[in-house]
């Protein structure tokens, strides 16, 4: 298996990240409930405090910085529920993580996706 120069290239969501991310992922899990989604939108600061997000997690959410959320232990299936609150889908999230526009990301997928280096 090739070595990975950058852990954010393909994060392996195992014990370390799972433990680090529990609070953030628990908050995202709560967004399965429409009332909770509304409560987050009404008072984001208070909602994040209730779930005891770490400072790194809180900053990442405030900045809408997906890579920082991943580094803080966020799991993409759960982060997708947070992204949904802002009306973002996984293609928007793909663009946000890779520094291209959504149109460019969509076009990359239409052209066959990102291929092995």
């Amino acid at each position: 298996m090739p070595t990975q120069p950058d852990p954010l290239d393909t994060p392996i969501f195992g014990g370390d990240l799972a433990q680090r991310g529990l609070a953030l992922n628990a908050m995202c899990f709560s967004f399965n409930d429409a009332g909770n989604r509304a409560a987050f939108l009404a008072d984001e600061e208070g909602y994040c405090a209730r779930y005891r997000l770490t400072p790194a997690q809180r900053n990442a959410v405030a900045d809408r910085d997906i890579l920082a959320m991943l580094a803080a232990g966020g799991n993409i299936y759960y982060l997708a529920k947070l992204a949904g609150i802002f009306g973002l889908n996984v293609q928007d999230v793909g663009a946000m993580q890779t520094g291209v526009s959504v149109a460019e990301f969509r076009q990359m997928m239409l052209d066959g996706g990102r291929r092995a280096a």
Partner: protein, 283 residues
């Protein structure tokens, strides 16, 4: 005696649920994917299954990461979908077959697969979308289900080898079930895709082709990689191929490929659909 008739493998990208709700099947973006279901509908009309065993992975609806079973078998008479938080319509409920579930659970534990047993279980889009694709516009599902959730989310994941062995043990359970049902097997998810990180958008058509070519005649070929290697080859979520591998194991030793469809992209995913018919062993 009951009979294992074969089954279906297909991607379960949430956006497919949105396309179905919008009736986008003929839209140029979606048509190449939905066209793969003509042969599925024909096969189902002929095969007339009564029960479906479904291998899938939960995306944070029934399970949260605080308690994450590696293998979980539903043992309920009804399974419901619910709000998953990303705006999908809530899918119709499914009838279960608790007696068959318990027979499978008994057999699996006897074979030393110490599964988690779920007498209540919400099922997410990963289970529902293949049914929406298979029986479009059905008022209620024509089959009862036994859902089997595999952890493809929180590492360490079960190995491809273990998933194939799990599927084969489920197949043994089905072969020893005294009912007279026609039983199909469904594996959902994949193929190559990665949603997170700087490699988001990763697709590997060569590995996907290897999986599709090997799955029918030589599923053991897929067990030469570890789960971590599959993540590297297929992307972080492409590891959902574990569900296909388990489903293939449950279909029996010999299968015939009935249909195959492969299309890039649906959303961020190389989308694929395959039907296999189980070959009858001469008595």
């Amino acid at each position: 005696m009951s009979e294992i008739i074969g089954g279906l493998m297909t991607s379960h990208v949430p956006a497919i649920g949105g396309a179905i709700a919008r009736r986008d099947q003929a839209d140029p973006y979606w048509k190449p994917f939905f066209d793969g279901f003509g042969p599925v509908h024909d096969w189902l009309a002929d095969a007339k299954p009564d029960v479906a065993i479904v291998f899938y992975n939960d995306h944070g609806l029934n399970f949260f990461l605080d308690k994450m079973p590696t293998f979980a078998v539903g043992a309920a008479d009804v399974y419901r979908n619910a709000d998953e938080g990303w705006g999908l319509p809530v899918f119709k409920p499914f009838r279960g077959d608790a007696a068959l579930s318990w027979h499978i659970i008994e057999t699996l534990v006897e074979r030393e697969f110490d599964v988690t047993t779920c007498q209540t279980m919400l099922v997410d889009h990963a289970l529902a979308i293949p049914f929406e694709l298979s029986w479009p516009d059905a008022e209620s599902w024509p089959v009862r289900i036994v859902p089997i959730a595999i952890n493809t989310v929180q590492h360490p994941l079960p190995s491809p080898k273990r998933c194939l062995a799990l599927g084969r043990a489920v197949g043994e359970a089905l072969a020893s079930w005294p009912g007279d049902e026609r039983i199909m097997v469904v594996g959902t998810g994949g193929l190559s895709h990665q949603l997170e990180g700087k490699r988001a958008g990763f697709i590997n058509p060569e590995y996907d082709a290897f999986c599709m070519d090997s799955l029918g005649p030589d599923p053991d070929a897929l067990t030469r990689h570890s789960a971590r290697e599959v993540v590297e080859l297929a992307g972080s979520q492409g590891v959902e191929i574990l569900n296909w591998i388990a489903a293939r194991g449950a279909m029996g030793d010999a299968v015939r490929e009935v249909s195959r469809n492969y299309h890039i992209p649906i959303s961020n995913t190389a989308a694929a659909t395959m039907v296999f018919a189980t070959e009858r062993v001469p008595a």
